[in-house]
Symmetry: C2
Subunit: 277 residues, 2 copies
């Protein structure tokens, strides 16, 4: 992996890298924040998966997460949201909710998407193996995300409890088999067999297998996507039915933006720190 | 003035407005953060002037200032950096350091710039009069800025000590009569009479009139513009010679970006709160 940039931030280091991804079959960029503590010893990492249209830079520049991450001695690993490059097929109409910037953290099985769109394997295996070899990171991991990335964090955490300590999400797509964004993505990436969709649906996973890790969700009540796309009540019901360790915090007046994320990222990082230590 | 958007942020309100500016002769947008305390009483405001290429949105989305502003009960007033619109003349070659996005917080005297480029009067008079009439703000003001906006904060604060309590700046252009950015801007906006340039040069103002307000400057030592454009030593010398109340903090490893601003905005807001109260 090749370093593209490095700047100091809150006493730590904000880094950006580029590498050839075998799993995604393209060149990928990602960002990492290393707290000051990482100069002396390896530190645990919180992976943050971003939402539709984002790259690794949205969370890096707008969430204000570095302050608390440095205080808690946590690294932040911030991947891109899809495979990239001229060879990677995109939504034929350039829509924001499918194709590039919208990988949905799954392994596509349908042509032409299956050549590159393997974000699930990238996040679960390839990226952690790379950064834990090259950077001062322990194998202690927590996973978080926003919107489509909240969906990714829930699905990846719930399916791999041995690899993470805890899951958090802002405004996640909790039940993608039952919303327009999920229908569009899953029918294209995975095809018409709706049974194959369930492995990428947090509500379906909890209903089938129970809840394997502690979860914290923050959801704004002035979020324009709340009822049609996000459905926090579906997740809450699944957690309750599974008798799981989960909190869904609803916040009056907050929307879907990074102003919301910035307001509550401290609470989510403190939640993860409690489980990582 | 017309509200364009409102979102909640750290318990307060992040607002964006549009209005017809008489001074600038065009439609302008600006952002305001109102802390929770402003729901019950009028609050003091910190004006933040942004740098080259910026609008009001860079500071609003990237500095993470709302958390501490809310805690301290301070409003943030965040103007754009130049007049805007199709009627406003721009750099003929579209350069980033002159014209739109580069108003330099002065009153232009030369054609064709003098029709619109009056950012000095806009920041000193028109904008405060408007927001103090329409929003729950007291007439207590502090002024801050970044790079070109750090220059603006220093010049406007030093020349109007009765209107502000304190000045702060990140990576300011301290001595624009003696750097390439300043030469280009001043020769075009103000013409060849170099005496007219001195009224917009913080170092010249302190050398001529002394230092009228407390100043805090933060400057990164890995800032690529440090030696050619910013010259913190010139400001430090002027403050020392004037026996003024000023601190220039130099920070190892930090660059010119919003990662730097985010790391030290808390210190600057606490500095202003001390003087505003």
């Amino acid at each position: 992996m090749k370093k593209i940039s490095e700047v100091r931030s809150f006493g730590g280091r904000q880094l950006r890298y580029e590498h050839d991804s075998k799993v995604l079959n393209c060149v990928m960029q990602f960002s990492v924040f290393l707290p000051q503590a990482a100069a002396k010893q390896s530190v645990p990492a919180v992976y943050f998966l971003s939402g539709l249209t984002c790259t690794d830079e949205n969370f890096s520049t707008k969430a204000g997460a570095q302050r608390v991450a440095n205080e808690l001695g946590l690294a932040l690993v911030i991947p891109d949201t899809s495979p990239r490059g001229d060879d990677v097929p995109d939504d034929p109409e350039g829509a924001y909710d499918f194709g590039k910037g919208a990988g949905f953290y799954l392994n596509a099985t349908q042509s032409p998407w299956s050549t590159h769109y393997h974000m699930y394997d990238y996040i679960v295996d390839e990226l952690p193996a790379l950064v834990e070899q090259e950077l001062p990171l322990t194998a202690q991991r927590a996973i978080a995300g926003h919107s489509m990335g909240g969906h990714g964090a829930l699905v990846i955490g719930l399916r791999n409890p041995e690899r993470y300590t805890s899951i958090s999400a802002f405004s996640p797509i909790t039940n993608p088999t039952d919303c327009p964004w999920g229908h569009k993505a899953f029918s294209n990436y995975l095809g018409d067999d709706k049974d194959s969709w369930k492995q990428y649906d947090a509500v379906e996973i909890i209903n089938a297998n129970g809840q394997s890790l502690p979860i914290r969700v923050d959801q704004g009540l002035a979020d324009g996507f709340l009822e049609e796309q996000l459905k926090p009540e579906a997740l809450k019901s699944a957690i309750t039915a599974a008798n799981g360790d989960g909190e869904v915090h609803l916040h009056e007046g907050y929307d879907h933006s990074y102003y919301f994320i910035a307001s509550f990222i401290e609470a989510q990082l403190r939640f993860h720190a409690k489980h990582l230590n």
